[in-house]
Every structure is written in C-alpha cells, then in structure tokens.
C-alpha cells in the first residue's frame, strides 16, 4: 500500500527504492509495468500520463528477483522474446541477441537451455532479455537478492556499467543498504508506503533528514532536548555541545555509529556508559554501550582493543559529527 508517494526521476538516471519488505517498493514497479492498477494518482513519462496506455506499449520493462526465463525456450529465444512479440524479423532478432549476449559478457550461449544456466548467468540473460527492446525505463525488482555474495558483487558492477553505457533510466529496488548506495545516482527510502528521504546516497548516509530514515541507514543514537547557544540539553544523557550555535528550541540530534569514539577518561561531550557486548566484525569492532536509559551501537575501525562485558567507559560524541534530524 502506498500513501503520499511521489518521485520524479531524470532521464538516464539510476534511482534506487530502498525499504524493508512490505514497504511497497515492488508495488511501485508493478504499477508502472501495469501488472497492478492504480487506485488514484498518476504515472507520467516525459510529462505524459501512461495510465491509458496498454501495459505492453508503455516501454517499461521489469526484471524480478527470480529470472523467470521461460523454461520451454532456449537462451536465444528467451532474449528475443520481446522483439518477436513486436513482430521483428528473425534475422534482426538474431543480431540483437548476439549483441546483447556480448554486452552481458556471455557470448556464444545462444543455444543453451535455460536449465543449464547458473543463478548469476540466469540473471544476466534476464537482463539482456529486458534490455533488448530498448525500453524507456528499466525496472529491477531485487534482481540480485537470491545470489551468492561474490556473484552478487560482480553483477552489481556489471549492471551499473551497462546502465551507464546505455544511458537507460533505471529504477532499482532493494532492501540492502550497501547495494542501494553502490548502485544509485539517487536513492529513495520507502517506509510504510511513504518516501521519507530522496537524495544522493552519500548525503542520505551521512545526513539522513528524519529519525525514521536515519534508523534505516544505520543510525541508532538520537538525542532529544532543548537547544540553545550551541548546547543541547538532552533529557536522557545531559548537556552536549553542538557545532551549530544558532540552533534554538526543541530538537533531535543524531550521530552515526562510525563517528562515536570510546575512551577511558572523561572529556568534552563524553557520556559515561557500560559495555553490553563487543563483537568482532572483521572490518570493524561493534560495541553496544548502555548510556543510562539509552543503548547505542558504536563501530570502531580496526585495529581496536576489545572491551569486556560490564566495563565502564566514556562514549565521546564529536560535535562536528552531530547532525539535526526531523523527529
């Protein structure tokens, strides 16, 4: 279910819809593809509504998490499907299929049966099948979610390259934050059918505009209180210094877990806490610290010393990394 959903995408841009399952991201794609019907609202391509256009004439193609390659057709027939439906001559189709196969890096597999393809190859072929008709809009609905990590990384790069090369306007749907950031020019965070943030990945990652969006990009320390003269009187943890001296009134400030530091002695903006858990994550050390009523996650870059459960520490919040979010 979507409510108050509005998004505009520029020509040639790759936009990611990022949201948890059930947030309505797939619905958006199905509405554009014409698989589901819009109750009210409008969808426009180049300023013109497409709602009255037959779904198969819209020039928007969709690729799903499963490749949905037709099992009774071979690779060549699968890729050529869209063109064949448009009545394109077989000789032309043959050439286009060949071109597509080299574009996706799998030349010469025309006669292969669908059942003989690996998961990654299947998705590459499905991508070729979607692109062969030269659609105005390419929609990818979690196309990589069922693949192994290494295959997935390769395909992320491949899709992004192909998208840039063809300059095709693309909507990519995923629930994976790092995938979304790696793949998009802009990303929209979709929560409960509502776009809570829409901006460049690096902006949304470092400065999410509201609490809900911030939580979704991994922020979990929020300080709420009365700001004045460069200080925030946070109800839960006490006074914290801010960089922004002009801020006055009730407000919420947040900080990313990577920017929080842990130290033994008290300094400016340090809060006394107790270590709850300490997990080695490879590229970082993840520490849960209880600060009075609050609990926060801290990500320390490696190498870092391990902390013991129940250890008393000070959590330091550098003022330059504190940013304001809408409640």
């Amino acid at each position: 279910m979507l409510k108050d959903f509005s998004l505009s995408i520029n020509d040639g841009e790759m936009v990611t819809l990022l949201g948890p399952s059930g947030s309505g991201k797939s619905t958006v794609l199905k509405l554009i593809a014409g698989i589901e019907q819009l109750d009210n609202g409008d969808i426009r391509f180049d300023g013109e509504s497409i709602l009255q256009t037959e779904p198969n004439k819209r020039g928007a193609v969709l690729m799903f998490q499963k490749s949905y390659l037709f099992p009774f057709l071979n690779v060549e027939e699968n890729i050529g499907f869209g063109l064949k439906m448009q009545g394109v001559a077989p000789s032309v189709i043959q050439g286009e299929v060949k071109r597509m196969l080299s574009l996706i890096g799998l030349p010469g597999i025309e006669k292969r049966k669908v059942g003989q393809l690996s998961g990654g190859e299947g998705q590459r072929v499905a991508l070729a099948r979607a692109l062969v008709t030269q659609p105005k809009l390419l929609m990818l609905d979690e196309p990589l979610s069922s693949l192994d990590t290494s295959v997935r990384m390769n395909l992320q790069a491949a899709i992004r390259d192909i998208q840039r090369e063809l300059g095709i306007t693309t909507i990519f749907v995923t629930h994976d934050l790092s995938e979304a950031m790696a793949m998009s020019d802009r990303m929209a965070i979709l929560l409960d059918g509502e776009v809570t943030a829409y901006d460049k990945p690096e902006t949304l990652f470092h400065r999410p505009p509201c609490v809900r969006s911030a939580k979704f990009v991994g922020v979990d320390l929020f300080l709420e209180g009365e700001a004045s003269g460069g200080w925030l009187d946070a109800a839960d943890v006490g006074r914290v210094r801010l960089n922004d001296e002009s801020k006055v009134g009730r407000s919420v400030f947040a900080i990313r877990p990577e920017h929080i530091r842990i130290q033994k002695e008290e300094t400016e903006n340090s809060l006394a806490g107790v270590v709850q858990s300490c997990l080695f994550r490879g590229e970082a050390l993840e520490v849960q610290v209880r600060l009075g009523e609050l609990t926060t996650r801290v990500r320390l870059p490696m190498p870092a010393p391990m902390f013991a459960h129940g250890e008393n520490v000070f959590v330091q919040l550098p003022a330059e990394y504190l940013f304001e979010v809408a409640a």
């Binding site: 779904p55 969709l62 799903f64 037709f70 009774f72 049966k113 008709t133």
Partner: protein, 260 residues
C-alpha cells in the same frame, strides 16, 4: 521374490486381454475343452462387416473429440479461477463442479432426457456430447486446477513487462506452461466420454449408437467371441492415445524437472 510379484501383477493385468484375443479368433470354445478346437477369422470378419461396429466406433470417436474440446474450453477458465484465486463461494463452486461424480448418472440422464427432448437435442450427437460433459468436467477441472495451484503467474507478468499483449501471453506463455496438464485433461475427457454407456443410451435414444452401447448389447447376447472382439475394439483407441501421450508427457516432465 520382487520379480515373481511383478510377473504375477502383469499376468493379472494381461490375462483377460490375452483371453479376449484368443476368443476373438475361435468359435465354439466351451468347457471342459482345454484349448480351442478351431481357429477362425469368421467371427472377426462378421463383426467388422457389420456397419454398426465401425459406425459406432466413428460416432463414439467424434463425440469423444467434441467432448474433449468443450471440456477444455469450459474447464480452463474455471480451473484457473479455482486454482489461482481466493474468492467468496469458492467451496460451493468446487462442490457444484464435483457433484456429477457422486450423483448417479441415471438420475442426471433421466432429467436431461426430458429437457433435451423438449429442446430437440435428444438423439443428436450434440445432445449426447453435452450430456457427456457432465461426467468429464469434474476430471478436467480437477486436473487443470491442481496444475494452476502450482502455476506461477509471474511468468505471465514477466511476459507482460517485456511487451507481450494479453493474447500473445495466452498463446505463448500460458498454453505452453500448461501443455502437460492440458494433455492429461484431454486424455481424461476423451476416455470418460469414449467409455460412457448410460448417458449415451438415455440421450441417444437408440439413434446414437457408440461402441459401449454395442458392447452391452453383445454382453447380454452371450456370445463370448463377439464380446471379445468388441472389447478389443473398445480398448484399442484409448490404448493408442495413452501410448502416444505417455511419450509426450515424459518429455514435458523432463523439461520441467530441469528447471528445479
């Protein structure tokens, strides 16, 4: 031991058929003679010369083909709705479609006969075919709806999202995906119609003579050779149909298995 049991099973299945073949080409083989005294093709000849035999086979075949086609056309949308959709009254729809399997055909036949006499369908091929539909539809609907219950509509969505029109999707995707089940459903309809006796007799009213009707007449006549020949002729077309579709089905089965 396993082989002995298997051999016995085959024997039980094949013995009556073998006996039919023997009976078809003998005359006057009576107890306690251990073997037929005389081999002859005259009974066979006689049965084939009787125009009612080939006529009955032809009429039965035409009716079975009409019934199969109508069953598929009627069952396909019903099965799709039952297999893929949840809707109010779904259970009742199931019940109504399956009622003919429990209601005695005699009861249906009598009522239909009165109705068909009024509208002029009694004694016609079309009338008999329509009556047969009552018996075949539960089987075709059941076969197709269980296939639709496993059917992934996303293949159709995918085709739509690749620019195929609804008609193109139906012929290029839906029918292709459903082919194995359509073959089985057709087979059921054909066999049920081909072996239908009571409804043919009631609605056909003596004007439509199919092989089962002749077979029942012969059975009450008591000449084992005649019964044997007609039974063999009765088994032949279904056996051929099954032999043909078994190969087809096996191939499709392999195609589908490769997917998973």
């Amino acid at each position: 031991m396993k082989y002995v049991i298997r051999a016995l099973l085959y024997l039980v299945l094949v013995a009556p058929l073998a006996l039919f073949i023997v009976y078809s080409f003998t005359e006057g083989w009576f107890f306690p003679a251990p073997f037929p005294s005389e081999w002859t093709t005259t009974t066979f000849q006689r049965a084939m010369d009787d125009p009612r035999t080939l006529g009955g086979m032809w009429q039965g075949f035409v009716i079975a083909v009409i019934v199969s086609l109508l069953s598929l056309i009627l069952a396909f949308p019903a099965a799709r709705a039952l297999g893929l959709r949840q809707f109010r009254g779904r259970q009742i729809a199931w019940l109504v479609l399956f009622l003919p399997t429990v209601v005695p055909p005699l009861a249906i036949g009598m009522g239909l006969n009165i109705l068909f006499l009024r509208v002029g369908l009694a004694g016609t091929i079309m009338g008999v075919s329509l009556a047969h539909l009552i018996s075949t539809l539960p089987y075709t609907v059941f076969t197709l709806s269980s296939a639709f219950a496993r059917y992934d509509e996303n293949y159709e969505h995918q085709a739509l999202a690749l620019g195929a029109s609804p008609a193109q999707i139906f012929f290029n995707i839906t029918l292709r995906m459903m082919t194995p089940s359509l073959v089985v459903a057709t087979l059921f309809a054909f066999l049920v119609s081909w072996s239908q006796y009571l409804l043919t007799l009631l609605i056909g009213g003596g004007k439509i003579i199919t092989l089962p009707v002749l077979l029942f007449t012969a059975a009450s006549g008591g000449n084992p050779s005649t019964i044997a020949i007609k039974s063999l002729l009765f088994i032949l077309p279904p056996a051929l149909v099954i032999a043909f579709t078994a190969r087809e089905l096996n191939r499709h089965g392999n195609d589908i298995r490769e997917q998973y």
